[in-house]
């Protein structure tokens, strides 16, 4: 929400901590390269990848997509709430983000468990190597995102944020959006595109 008077635009600024944006760029670069390598490998052995993809369940992945997008919505709502000085509402939105992210972790954990139980490892074949590498690497980022949001939540409970100062919430939200964005691409590439 731009509160500056018309014609007196505030100097451009990135939400949250600039260092976090460097970090996000680096993370996107890692995933970007990983996706590109996946694309090349898939093209070189389309049949193998199609066979592997056919064994993936679509509904848990779709549900996970919804959980992460909902988490992005609640963390954005938290930023808006803190900006409007509605700190109690902001805290509740942060808690909602944690619960939604937690749901993703449980569902994804179940999916991994079924794959491991089926004897799938990094060395099974190229498709499973990429499937496990990409989804597990992303899984670790969801966990890191949850740790960051949880840290902000703890700070918020101590009353650290208000309308004037909620940089920390913005920083956490930016990271969470990155985790979400990467998943949407990953979901499309690994689960949907056949």
């Amino acid at each position: 929400m731009n509160t500056a008077a018309p014609g007196l635009a505030a100097p451009p600024r990135v939400p949250g901590d600039l260092a976090m944006w460097f970090f996000i760029l680096a993370e996107l670069a890692v995933f970007g390269i990983f996706f590109a390598v996946y694309g090349v490998a898939r093209q070189r052995d389309a049949a193998l990848f199609a066979a592997g993809q056919a064994q993936l369940l679509l509904w848990p992945a779709l549900l996970n997509t919804l959980l992460l997008i909902a988490g992005s919505a609640t963390v954005a709502a938290a930023v808006r709430a803190f900006a409007a000085n509605l700190v109690a509402t902001g805290r509740r939105y942060l808690l909602a983000t944690l619960l939604l992210g937690g749901g993703f972790v449980l569902l994804k954990g179940w999916e991994f468990a079924t794959k491991f139980a089926a004897g799938i490892t990094l060395s099974s074949n190229d498709f499973w190597m990429f499937y496990l590498s990409l989804t597990f690497f992303h899984f670790l980022h969801v966990i890191l995102g949850l740790v960051i949001v949880a840290a902000v939540f703890v700070h918020a409970r101590r009353g650290a944020y208000d309308a004037a100062n909620h940089d920390g919430v913005e920083t956490a939200a930016a990271y969470w959006h990155m985790v979400d964005l990467v998943w949407v691409v990953l979901f499309a590439l690994v689960y949907v595109a056949r």
């Binding site: 260092a19 680096a26 993370e27 670069a29 390269i33 590498s133």
Partner: protein, 484 residues
């Protein structure tokens, strides 16, 4: 007494007082002066490293040069081991200077630092003498390698007792610095430096495990070598560079600290999993080809950020520090580390490329420019900034700085040429030995690329002249203070 005689007498007494740490006004904390012997030893060992480099450079083209007195494998071992030891001396000196200043208190025990220095120097010298005096197998026998076999691996050739000595020296050093940090001010520079130094000591412990399985052996070996140079050493380097830049530019700490954190995060993200780029075709699982390629492809980023960081803060400097040479070294470190470690590392880090270049002169070209650009240069940055202070002046005279800058350019340009000639040799080697329809044998290929080895040796001589000039710069007096 004439006025000029009085001035001379005053200058003499000033310079005598300046060399005495008790009255040196340039040092914030007297105990910082313990760094001096470390830096002197580092430069001395550096000379030894280059001499052995020149010897083996010649052995590339005149195979029996100095045989049987100094065989190629011994010259190589001494060349690489001296490199590591002088850099360690440099890091320790840097730690002893930097930590008290950052912590705003005297070193916990200057006496312990001096004892540690002598133990390390004597142990290091004895080890080198051992390498040169007796065959390696005999050295292994007389140092009891059978009891705990750790010898025989590249860079970690030291006898087990030397390795134990290194651990003790590192513990004493870390104890001394950690006590200083714990009792004093904690800054991000000192925290990153300590994280790097502790990491250095902890990862060295992998060198004590020497599994029979060759693949496992390589894993443990890389956990020392890679996690040092592409992990914790980068933290040490970042902290040293940040320290010198804070001092010579007067830029706000907050800005420098933010850069430092981002650089460190990138280093660890890319570097730790990037270890996988050493696991190609050594018996490790195939997925490492993807993991190693993807993550190590990002390793140039922190180096590039270090370059941006150095130029940014120097451009926005709030003061003109009279030590221009130190600023030159700091900027040079940024550029050369990015080129040597970043660009030349990236050249052969992707698995499909490395399939052809593995273990060729391409690796040697990268090794030379990366070690010089990142670690040799950052130690010389630190020496350049701190030595004048420890000798009682803010900066060396203009005359001395001019000679030091000449040595900078000679060494740096010579290293660029060494790298380019080795790269050319490497490309030809890959082409003739591995890509042609009728591949040549290893030795036949070596004969064909001898021309480039001669050019490399010539560049090495220029490098050595630069190094001698560097030493000369310490003895040039001139006006005590350069004009700002």
């Amino acid at each position: 007494m004439t006025s000029s005689a009085m001035a001379t007498a005053r200058a003499a007494s000033v310079s005598a007082a300046a060399n005495d740490p008790l009255t040196n006004v340039q040092l914030k904390y007297r105990s910082q002066a313990v760094a001096k012997p470390y830096f002197v030893a580092a430069i001395g060992l550096f000379v030894g490293q280059i001499l052995f480099g020149l010897i083996m450079g010649l052995q590339y083209v005149i195979g029996d040069f100095l045989f049987p007195e100094i065989p190629f494998n011994v010259a190589r071992m001494v060349h690489t081991n001296l490199l590591i030891v002088w850099l360690l001396f440099g890091f320790m000196g840097a730690g002893y200077f930097l930590i008290p200043e950052e912590s705003e208190r005297e070193l916990h025990s200057p006496k312990l630092a001096i004892i540690t220095f002598w133990v390390f120097l004597v142990a290091g010298a004895l080890t080198i003498v051992g390498y040169l005096a007796v065959p390696y197998a005999t050295l292994a026998k007389i140092t009891g390698n059978d009891l705990l076999p750790t010898m025989g691996r590249e860079f970690l050739e030291q006898p087990t007792i030397t390795k134990i000595g290194i651990v003790l020296v590192a513990l004493s050093f870390l104890f001394n610095l950690s006590m200083t940090v714990l009792k004093g001010r904690k800054t991000s520079i000192s925290m990153v430096m300590m994280l790097g130094l502790w990491g250095l000591a902890i990862f060295f412990l992998f060198s004590f495990y020497n599994p029979d399985n060759l693949v496992l052996d390589k894993y443990f070996w890389w956990w020392v070598v890679h996690l040092w140079v592409e992990g914790v050493w980068e933290l040490i380097m970042g902290a040293m560079l940040a320290f010198v830049l804070v001092k010579v530019t007067g830029i706000d700490r907050e800005i420098i600290e933010k850069w430092l954190y981002v650089i460190i995060a990138m280093t660890l993200i890319s570097g730790i999993i990037g270890t996988g780029h050493h696991y190609f075709w050594i018996g490790a699982p195939a997925y490492w080809q993807v993991w190693g390629s993807v993550f190590s492809a990002l390793e140039p980023i922190p180096f590039f950020m270090m370059t941006l960081f150095a130029f940014n803060v120097v451009n926005k400097r709030r003061r003109e520090h009279p030590n221009k040479a130190a600023v030159l070294w700091a900027l040079g470190t940024g550029v050369m580390a990015f080129l040597g470690a970043g660009v030349w590392g990236f050249l052969h880090t992707l698995a499909p490329v490395n399939y052809l270049t593995h273990g060729t002169q391409i690796t040697a070209s990268h090794g030379h420019m990366a070690f010089y650009g990142a670690y040799a240069m950052v130690v010389m940055t630190m020496i350049s900034y701190t030595m004048p202070l420890m000798r009682g002046r803010e900066a060396n005279s203009n005359a001395a700085q001019v000679v030091e800058m000449w040595s900078f350019w000679l060494m740096t340009v010579a290293m660029v040429f060494i790298t380019l000639f080795l790269t050319a040799a490497g490309i030809l080697q890959v082409w003739m030995q591995r890509m042609g329809d009728t591949p040549l044998s290893f030795m036949a290929t070596q004969d064909k690329i001898a021309f480039f080895y001669w050019l490399r040796e010539l560049s090495g001589v220029v490098f050595f002249i630069g190094l001698l000039l560097y030493i000369v710069s310490f003895f040039i007096r001139g006006n005590e203070r350069a004009s700002a």
